[in-house]
Every structure is written in structure tokens, then in C-alpha cells.
């Protein structure tokens, strides 16, 4: 079997190169969408094998990374949906933190200013942990929107949702993320 294809710039892509250059991206995207390492490993193996088997039919219709990104997202979503034993997840509405005319609990300041933010290793772990805790339907929208920076219309297309459903899930996912991260970022008051 041929293990090369041609990239948009005419350069050949070899299977080893695809593994070396793209497997980390595939793995971390799958892990974030699925929220666990074991499923992400299964999806990564499937995607990488699927991709190298199709290398000789890849004609550079779109940039290779963009195509691979879409293949990975679809594989992760399909993997999640075929897990018949998925348990129902109870989702508490983050809007319950609000009463009609105010905030139910005191809102403490966060130490960080958005314009001076730098993501260090410890913060990275906190955010990855908060993403894992999101319910599946909210995590996939959050990852595609705020981590992968895809436009809402494209996310709606990928997930088969209306634009308003994507925006609603994204907003609630952000509120959940914000609440998960609050204990870590809130200023300590003495």
C-alpha cells in the first residue's frame, strides 16, 4: 500500500510524518472532547490508522490539518455516541446562582486581569480538570468554541444543532467552567 500523499504545496506526506506531526494534536483534541484518556487513546489510534490508509487518496482538497481536525472531531463524537452504557448526567443549571434581583451568593474578585493572563502549567491543569468535569453535551461545544476557536455556525453544522442551541450550551458551559475555576482564582480575603 502506498504510504504517501500530496499536500497542497505539492510536497509528499509520509505516514511516519503524519504520526509525528499530527498525532499529538489528534490525541489532545479527542481527549478534551471525550473527557477521558482511555477513550481518547482508542480514537487516536483509529483516526491515525484511518488517515494513513487514506493518504494515497488525499488530494489536498483542503489543507491537511483542517481535514484531519474534522476527521478527529467526527471520530470522537461518533465514539461517544456509540457508548450505549453512557449514564445520564444530571446537570445543575448555573443560572440557579441568580435570584430574580441579584446574585444568590457573594461574588469574590478574581486575582487575574484578562489583559495580563499567562497560562502556566498549574493553571493548565486546573482548566483541563474543569473541562473534564463538564457534562458531555456542554464539554464538546465548549472545546470546539473556546479551545479550538471554531465559529458557532461551524459547530452547529458539526453537531447537528441549531445556532441558538450552540450559543445556549456554550454560555452555560462557560458559566459552569467559571464556577469550577472560581475556588482556584478567587482572591483570598482575610
Amino acid at each position: 500500500m502506498s504510504d504517501t500523499a500530496t499536500e497542497t504545496n505539492g510536497a509528499p506526506i509520509k505516514a511516519e510524518q503524519v504520526f509525528r506531526d499530527h498525532a499529538p494534536r489528534v490525541y489532545h483534541l479527542a481527549r478534551r472532547i471525550l473527557g477521558n484518556d482511555a477513550d481518547a487513546q482508542d480514537v487516536t489510534q483509529d483516526v491515525m490508522l484511518q488517515v494513513v490508509r487514506k493518504l494515497d487518496s488525499f488530494r489536498g482538497e483542503s489543507a491537511f490539518p483542517t481535514w484531519l481536525h474534522r476527521v478527529t472531531v467526527n471520530a470522537a463524537l461518533a465514539h461517544r455516541r456509540k457508548q450505549s452504557s453512557r449514564k445520564e448526567q444530571a446537570v445543575s443549571d448555573p443560572m440557579d446562582h441568580f435570584i430574580e434581583d441579584g446574585h444568590r451568593h457573594p461574588v469574590k474578585s478574581w486575582t487575574e486581569q484578562p489583559e495580563h493572563l499567562v497560562l502556566g502549567q498549574e493553571r493548565e491543569q486546573q482548566i483541563e480538570g474543569a473541562i473534564e468535569r463538564l457534562p458531555d453535551d456542554y464539554r464538546e461545544v465548549f472545546v470546539l468554541a473556546d479551545v479550538e476557536q471554531l465559529p458557532n455556525a461551524e459547530i452547529a453544522d458539526i453537531l447537528g444543532l441549531s445556532l441558538s442551541a450552540v450559543k445556549s450550551r456554550l454560555h452555560r458551559a462557560r458559566l459552569m467552567m467559571r464556577n469550577h475555576l472560581a475556588p482556584y482564582f478567587e482572591e483570598v480575603t482575610v
Binding site: 505516514a15 490525541y27 489510534q45 493572563l117 467559571r178
Partner: protein, 78 residues
């Protein structure tokens, strides 16, 4: 007067600049007089900004790397 609950419901559109000028002005007026909502907006923006900085292609865990080497070896035997 817009309630805090309604303000928070509009944060997504506020942060992506999808509100009408009128709605935006009402929200900003609310932020001026409501410190909890100011703080909430700030924390919402920090959450978005930090999540967008997560590395997309950090190194693979050793276990994943070993499995993929095996997958590649099998593929090259096909």
C-alpha cells in the same frame, strides 16, 4: 432596570459584540452600579481567555506514543 440574572444571560452576546448598541449601553450602565456583575464579567472573560491558551499539540503521554508506534508498525506491514 435590567436584573443581574438577565445581564448574565446576555454575557455571551456582550463578549462577542453581538448586542445592539442600546442593549450594550444598558449592560454597561448596569456594570457601573453593580460590583458583583463587574466581577462576574471579569471572571467570565478570564475563563474564555485562559481556555483559548491551552496548548493544542503538547507531547503525547508515553503510553499513547508506544501504542501509536505499534499501530504504525502494523500499518507498514499491510
Amino acid at each position: 432596570m435590567m436584573t443581574c440574572r438577565r445581564v448574565v444571560e446576555l454575557l455571551l452576546d456582550y463578549c462577542s459584540e453581538n448586542l445592539s448598541e442600546g442593549q450594550r449601553a444598558i449592560l454597561e450602565e448596569h456594570f457601573r452600579y453593580c460590583p458583583p456583575c463587574q466581577v462576574y464579567l471579569h471572571s467570565y472573560q478570564v475563563t474564555i481567555k485562559l481556555s483559548g491558551q491551552l496548548p493544542k499539540d503538547a507531547p503525547l503521554p508515553p503510553e499513547m506514543e508506544a501504542k501509536l508506534k505499534e499501530v504504525l508498525r502494523q500499518f507498514q506491514k499491510e
